[in-house]
């Protein structure tokens, strides 16, 4: 029983990270119908920038409390990623808005390779370690070990997602976003500055990615130029699972995928009598993705995508 509880905790924490990254995919997809392949890389850049700032802060003010140092890192990483997201859209996607569908997709892949390798040149190929600055308290609840950091990650994810939901559903900006997602032309006719809305979507999504990146590297204690890629793929799968374009769906999909992975890797060996094992952990996300796309392309919460062609 305590093992099951522990696996659920593992999955919940992993899932909230997926959910936070998945939001970025879902928002961009909702508005542009484009998979922003580079989003995982933005997450990675967020972690790297934050780590650089944290290293510098610790070098100059070694007496600063850990939480303040990390906060300093996050506060620099967010605008840095926002700028990056804004730039990516402006340079790589906007000129191609009227090109055939394959074009922005290929630029997105190219952008992802560029960011990965630029990060490798700047920060090196070595794994960078995240200093132990955050509180490390541990509790035992229902037999499961839970740390301060895990509680913090889950709470922060939920808070951010709630805030984003409010932004999209209740604010003027959110209404413009939803209108743009429905139809760019009509939104434009109604006086919405579509280019501005698209830019803002990228900016908000990238800001969230920065937070997610710092969370991931703090949780695992490291960052690496390659870390964004797999994270991005899994988060995308989560977004599809929940119903792409749907904010609550991204949250649900992220949490579910995290739990599926934890339970899958934990129990598949025993369930199949050793035939399949935890080597197939990375397969689960793809399997979920393919199954959902084939049987229920609109995801769990998504509306049926109309055949508009």
């Amino acid at each position: 029983m305590d093992i099951l509880a522990q696996q659920l905790v593992n999955g919940l924490v992993l899932g909230s990270i997926y959910a936070l990254v998945a939001l970025g995919y879902t928002m961009v997809y909702g508005i542009l119908e484009l998979i922003n392949f580079a989003h995982g890389e933005v997450t990675m850049i967020g972690a790297m920038v934050a780590l650089t700032v944290i290293g510098a802060l610790l070098g100059v003010f070694p007496q600063l409390p850990g939480l303040v140092v990390v906060l300093g890192g996050v506060l620099v990483a967010i605008p840095a990623c926002m700028l990056l997201g804004f730039g990516i859209e402006k340079v790589a996607y906007r000129p191609l808005r009227h090109a055939p569908r394959l074009a922005p997709l290929i630029t997105a892949i190219g952008m992802s390779i560029v960011l990965q390798n630029a990060a490798m040149l700047v920060w090196g190929r070595q794994y960078v370690s995240f200093p132990p600055l955050l509180p490390q308290g541990r509790y035992v609840i229902l037999g499961a070990q839970i740390t301060d950091l895990q509680i913090f990650i889950v709470l922060l994810s939920f808070t951010i997602m709630g805030g984003l939901w409010l932004l999209v559903e209740r604010s003027r900006l959110g209404r413009a976003m939803r209108a743009t997602a429905q139809s760019r032309e009509v939104a434009q006719l109604m006086g919405v500055n579509v280019d501005r809305i698209v830019s803002l979507t990228f900016i908000v999504g990238s800001g969230l990615a920065a937070v997610a990146g710092v969370m991931v590297s703090a949780y695992y204690g490291l960052a690496h130029y390659y870390m964004g890629f797999m994270l991005g793929l899994k988060a995308f799968s989560a977004a599809v699972l929940g119903g792409i374009g749907n904010i609550v769906g991204a949250m649900l999909g992220g949490l579910l995928l995290g739990i599926i992975e934890a339970l899958g890797a934990g129990y598949i060996g025993d369930l199949t009598g050793g035939f399949l094992g935890s080597h197939y952990q990375d397969v689960f996300a793809f399997f979920v993705l393919i199954t959902v796309l084939v049987f229920r392309p609109s995801g769990l919460l998504g509306e049926r995508v109309a055949n508009r062609a």
Binding site: I3, Q6, Y127, S129, M227, A262, G266, G269, G277, S278
Partner: protein
């Protein structure tokens, strides 16, 4: 490619190679030896280290003067970069064979050594790897393939015995990262502990890019393992040590040379304490010629990374075989290499029928006060 471009490039190549071949008219015979390791990419520093080790030996031998069959011979080392890529390794092997090398010291990684070994085997020239440890390299039945370092089987077996006798483990969990290195090491470890009658309660897997091990570690915790063996590298080993602590899994983490690194200490932080990892070969301080080698090497190239002493010994083993054969003819040298009995910097070197070192040593280290310290040397 169109015709005039082709001629232009031919001309260029002609000029380049033509320049290289002059100036050898001192009456000496020049014998070329290849050295291959990654000289670009993430393993550059280790690759360069191998090259430097070989170069130091070559320069020493040239300074002393080498005479084969009554003629003075000068060695020339050709260092090539295989980028740690299997495909590039075969291209580089052909490049060296084109240049007419009589022997190759290399490659560094097992994944490149194996495909390249076929090329050297077909050409019939001896190959001595200073650092490739995969069992498969010498298991191909190639008479010309040798290595001067304990292989994964020797290391895994030694670690397995240490886990049972040194650490007294009764229930063991084994994880590997699904790379050729990690899996090979983990399988050998499993074989050794099973042979000693120890129960393997879980066999789990991860990948060489993973960072989250919570699910498999939780599973291992549920099975009551006292020792967790990880076959893999430090980027996974470090976070694994942390996550074990976080999950309250009170078992000793044990790994191979991929984890016995400075980087592991950084990545695992305070949770590195008590972790055990091995490395093939002796610690430099314990090598018979370690001190003298260190002084010589560092005066020229700076700090030793890892395998330089092995590359250095590999060159000497090769040249000793040439001396015994009184020839640099590859077939004769290969035959003479079998009879090697050489006291090297890294210890006594002899080969078994496959080309593996006999009785290669394995050193087991443990983390104490944030640093690696020797627990035991297994001969």
């Amino acid at each position: 490619m169109n015709a005039h471009k082709w001629f232009a490039s031919m001309l260029l190549v002609g000029i380049l190679t033509g320049c290289g071949q002059k100036g050898d008219d001192t009456g000496e015979t020049v014998i070329r030896i290849g050295s291959v390791s990654p000289l670009t990419g993430p393993q550059t520093h280790i690759g360069k280290d191998n090259e430097n080790g070989a170069r130091l030996a070559v320069d020493e031998i040239n300074a002393k003067g080498l005479v084969l069959a009554g003629k003075p011979v000068r060695l020339e080392l050709l260092a090539e970069d295989d980028q740690a890529e299997p495909k590039t390794a075969t291209i580089v092997a052909d490049k060296l064979l084109d240049a007419g090398v009589v022997a190759v010291i290399g490659h560094l990684n097992s994944g490149t050594t194996i495909p390249a070994s076929k090329r050297y085997h077909d050409a019939g020239i001896p190959q001595i790897s200073p650092s490739a440890t995969a069992v498969a390299y010498t298991a191909q039945g190639f008479a010309n393939a040798f290595r001067v370092m304990a292989n994964d089987a020797q290391q895994g077996q030694a670690l397995g015995r240490f886990a049972v006798h040194g650490l007294g483990a009764k229930k063991v969990a084994i994880i590997d990262d699904r790379t050729a290195y990690g899996q090979g090491l983990a399988d050998e470890f499993e074989r050794a502990v099973r042979a000693a009658g120890v129960e393997v309660v879980a066999r789990e897997f991860t990948s060489d890019k993973a960072t989250d091990f919570a699910a498999i570690l939780t599973n291992i915790k549920g099975k009551g393992a006292q020792l967790v063996f990880f076959g893999g590298m430090d980027p996974q080993g470090g976070p694994m040590a942390r996550q074990m602590k976080r999950l309250g899994l009170n078992a000793t983490l044990v790994g191979g040379d991929g984890m016995q690194t400075i980087n592991f200490l950084k990545l695992a932080g305070a949770d590195a304490e008590g972790v055990v990892a091995s490395s093939p070969g002796l610690p430099l301080e314990a090598m018979p010629g370690g001190k003298a080698f260190k002084a010589k090497f560092e005066a020229r190239y700076g700090p030793i990374q890892v395998y330089a002493p092995y590359a250095y010994d590999a060159v000497y083993v090769l040249v000793e075989a040439m001396k015994r054969a009184n020839s640099a003819a590859p077939a004769k040298v290969v035959a003479a290499l079998r009879q090697t009995d050489y006291q090297g910097v890294t210890g006594p070197l002899r080969f078994d029928a496959k080309g593996d070192t006999l009785g290669g040593a394995v050193t087991v280290y443990g983390v104490k006060n944030g640093a690696w310290s020797v627990l035991e040397v297994i001969q």
